[in-house]
């Protein structure tokens, strides 16, 4: 998901779809956490990392004197630069799908019980932030001027 060229390399999808199962398996088998904890950690960490990478960092991440982006690219987040700013492209749909699937898995594994209320709230918040930020109508929008 290089910001400089604005297109998603082929390996990126494979990397994404392999990396979170690896973490999930590691938490579950390696650290012997229960499914609720493992899925929650994977979901929240995924949300945090992708929020920083996709929706916080702006401009060209690999700045060199002789490769520079003209004008607007410097003010766009990586997510906004993907696929030359075209919305609803396959790579964008894939990444949205990943976010939704992780949340779905979290909800699925967490019992609907009062003692898990906090877990539900945290997961919902993490999901909503990265999910809404990825929706097409949020392109170029800075709510309350955050990260302008």
């Amino acid at each position: 998901m290089s910001g400089s060229s604005g297109y998603v390399p082929k390996g990126a999808g494979l990397f994404t779809s392999c990396s979170w199962p690896v973490f999930r398996v590691f938490f579950g088998l390696g650290l012997s956490l229960n499914p609720v904890e493992s899925w929650t950690i994977v979901n929240v960490v995924h949300a945090c990392v992708t929020f920083i990478v996709f929706h916080w960092i702006k401009g060209n991440p690999f700045h060199t004197p002789w490769v520079d982006m003209a004008g607007k690219g410097e003010r766009q987040t990586w997510w906004e630069q993907i696929d030359g700013s075209v919305q609803n492209t396959p790579s964008r749909k894939f990444l949205i799908g990943v976010v939704v699937f992780l949340y779905l898995a979290t909800v699925h594994s967490t019992p609907l019980d009062r003692q898990f209320l906090f877990v539900h709230v945290v997961n919902l918040a993490a999901f909503l932030v990265v999910f809404v930020a990825k929706l097409p109508f949020m392109h170029g929008v800075r709510i309350f001027g955050i990260n302008r």
Binding site: H63, T64, P65, W66, D68, E74, G84, S85, V86, Q87, N88, T89, K93, I96, G97, V100, Y103, L104, V107, H108, L112, L135, P136, H139, G140
Partner: protein, 636 residues
């Protein structure tokens, strides 16, 4: 129990009791799934086009097949091609009326008319309506001789052995036999070099030795060697300053620095030439602005030259460094090209002259090796090791340019050696410069300014004072108007001859006479056309001159007319000086974004010049300029 379980094992779910929690769970997950499904069937679109277009659904995108009905027909394409007027590659000049091809005038023709008028104003023998070629072409240097002399071919006048004040050969290393010998040895050993960049098979032991010698000379640990002087400062500025950084630059810095600053995309804040008060004012202004926007993580640079190439003044580095220390987050970059081998006890340049240390006081020092050291190339030394190391990977001029030919690096090594072994040379440059400046001030007419704030600076710019420029301008304008009148009269005469010819032609029946009449008519038309063109030129020039005179009387920034006239004045002075055995230079105009320096006669004092010869040259220059300006004054 939830959606997945329902899908996978419906029987098991049905057997259990349906709880409201389960219903909620299933409904919630179904909603999410539907939302994703809805997103996945959406068509791709480019956000800009949707916002602008009235029908968002039809907005084209590169992923959706194009609607063929929108395509242009062959005729439409042809029509568009017919209508298309390419944009000029260079924006049209807005600086002057004079050089714009308006009213059928061409820049060349008007320029030549102005030049001719200047020649006439200065009492030249050339006729007013002949087109004179550029005087520069008539002067060619044939050979440089040791001792600061050169052989110049002065047009038809013949070969002259002139005192060379045109080469920036401050330390007098031009044609030094030791350097030439060493160069030849290295050339025989290595040839022209590897023709690869330094990082890609281009590095030879000579380069490393040269870097070591430069570092030793500058009193630091490491230096970086560039292959070409002007590329040095351009690349260095570029390697450090980035978009969003702030550069405080003197408005008279030389062109490579300006170029580098522009390429770096940093914000450039110009301060008045050699005016630390103005610099501080601007630093404070930027600081308060940053505090307001909370943007503090910018790099900030002050960029000056030790001795300014465009004016010959020495930067007031002591005060600039004081400002640097008073404000945080400022780095100082000094281009020592003209001060290297001239100022300071050991010849390190203006920083040493002011007793400044590389590190605490100055952050980056760069220099062109083409001046004092008489070779080709440049170098940079920095406050930290990282300053140099950073450039080895991120300075375009170092990474992507073939390495310096080893013989030139060897020349730099020997040059530095000579400077170290003969400290008398440095002393001689400075005494020569001071002596020459004093002599010039003594002999020059009061309307010529010897620029510079330090007598030891061997780079001397002579400029006309505003009053003499104005005098010269009005004289030239007067001549141009006279030419215009004269041409008009001649055209009128031609026109009357032409109409007479027509009448005769109408009356006559004789074949021979009618042919001759037609011929005269044709010629008359031709001549009239040429004359009309000339009149147009003349009136355009007159208009331009008047406009400038009225809008900005006597200001150098006013534009090209003054520049053209003064430049011509100095070119003529240069040619006449060459006839009197003094070889000076009139550099072309190099501009900053917002200011133009008036043309000047530039003189370079060298250590190899004899003091008595310098006195003689000063006297010659003074007498000549006195005569030229006197001619302008009297002929009025």
């Amino acid at each position: 129990m939830d959606l997945l379980s329902v899908l996978v094992r419906p029987g098991l779910v049905l057997r259990e009791k349906l709880s409201p929690f389960l219903v909620f769970h299933v409904a919630f997950e179904t909603c999410l799934a539907l939302l994703v499904a809805y997103l996945f069937v959406q068509k791709a679109y480019a956000p800009r086009q949707q916002r602008r277009g009235a029908t968002p659904g039809r907005a084209p995108s590169r992923l959706v097949l194009k609607d063929r009905s929108d395509d242009l027909t062959e005729e439409e394409i042809d029509a568009l091609c017919e209508e298309w007027i390419p944009e000029p590659l260079v924006p049209p000049s807005t600086e002057s009326v004079l050089l714009s091809p308006r009213n059928g005038t061409s820049a060349e023709a008007t320029t030549s008319l102005v030049r001719t008028s200047v020649s006439v104003a200065l009492g030249s023998s050339e006729l007013a309506d002949t087109d004179t070629s550029d005087l520069r072409e008539a002067l060619t240097v044939h050979a440089y001789e040791p001792g600061g002399y050169c052989l110049v071919q002065v047009g038809d006048y013949g070969m002259k052995r002139c005192m060379n004040l045109a080469s920036a050969n401050y330390a007098g290393l031009q044609r030094d036999p030791r350097i030439e010998h060493a160069c030849r040895e290295v050339l025989l050993k290595y040839g022209c070099g590897a023709c690869g960049p330094r990082g890609f098979y281009g590095t030879l032991d000579v380069h490393l030795r040269c870097e070591y010698e430069i570092a030793k000379f500058m009193g630091t640990h490491e230096a970086i060697l560039y292959s070409f002087g002007p590329a040095t400062s351009t690349s260095i500025v570029n390697a450090f300053a980035k978009k969003g950084d702030i550069i405080f630059a003197d408005e008279c810095v030389h062109y490579p620095l300006q170029n580098g600053m522009q390429l770096s995309r940093a914000t450039i804040v110009w301060f008045h030439h050699n005016d630390p008060t103005d610099l501080e004012r601007k630093v404070v202004a930027i600081e308060s602005m940053q505090r307001k926007t909370r943007a503090e993580n910018h790099r900030q640079f002050i960029i000056v030259e030790g001795i300014f190439q465009n004016t010959g003044t020495i930067a007031r580095l002591d005060e600039i460094v004081a400002i640097k220390h008073r404000h945080r987050n400022l780095r100082l970059f000094v281009d020592e090209s003209h001060a290297l081998g001239v100022l300071g006890v050991t010849g390190r340049g203006a920083c040493e002259h002011f007793g400044l240390q590389l590190g605490p006081d100055v952050d980056i020092i760069a220099a062109d090796l083409a001046f004092s050291l008489g070779t080709i190339g440049g170098f940079c030394v920095g406050a930290e090791l990282a300053t140099v190391d950073h450039q080895r990977l991120s300075s375009a001029g170092y990474c992507f340019s073939a390495s310096q030919p080893p013989c030139l690096a060897e020349a730099a090594i020997i040059g530095l050696q000579i400077l170290r072994e003969e400290p008398g040379r440095l002393q001689r440059i400075r005494t020569n410069a001071a002596r020459f400046r004093r002599a010039l001030r003594e002999h020059l007419p009061s309307s010529v300014v010897v620029e510079g704030n330090l007598d030891e600076s061997p780079l001397i710019h002579l400029r006309l004072q505003t009053q003499s420029v104005r005098l010269l301008l009005s004289r030239v304008m007067h001549l141009v108007q006279a030419t215009e009148r004269q041409l008009r009269n001649r055209a009128d005469r031609l026109r009357s001859v032409e109409s007479n010819g027509e009448n005769e032609n109408g009356d006559s029946t004789d074949t021979d006479s009618s042919v001759s009449a037609e011929e005269t008519e044709d010629m008359g038309v031709l001549v009239t056309d040429a004359a009309m063109r000339q009149i147009n030129h003349a009136s355009a020039v007159a208009a331009a001159a008047t406009a400038h005179e009225m809008i900005m009387p006597g200001m150098y920034q006013a534009g090209a007319f003054e520049e053209l006239v003064t430049e011509r004045f100095w070119a003529i002075a240069r040619e006449r000086l060459a006839r009197q055995d003094v070889w000076a230079s009139v550099p072309g105009q190099l501009l900053t974004e917002h200011m133009r320096l008036p043309p000047a006669l530039v003189l370079h004092v060298s250590a190899s010049h004899e003091p008595t010869e310098l006195d003689r040259a000063a006297k010659t220059i003074g007498k000549l300029l006195d005569g030229m300006l006197g001619a302008v004054k009297h002929e009025r």
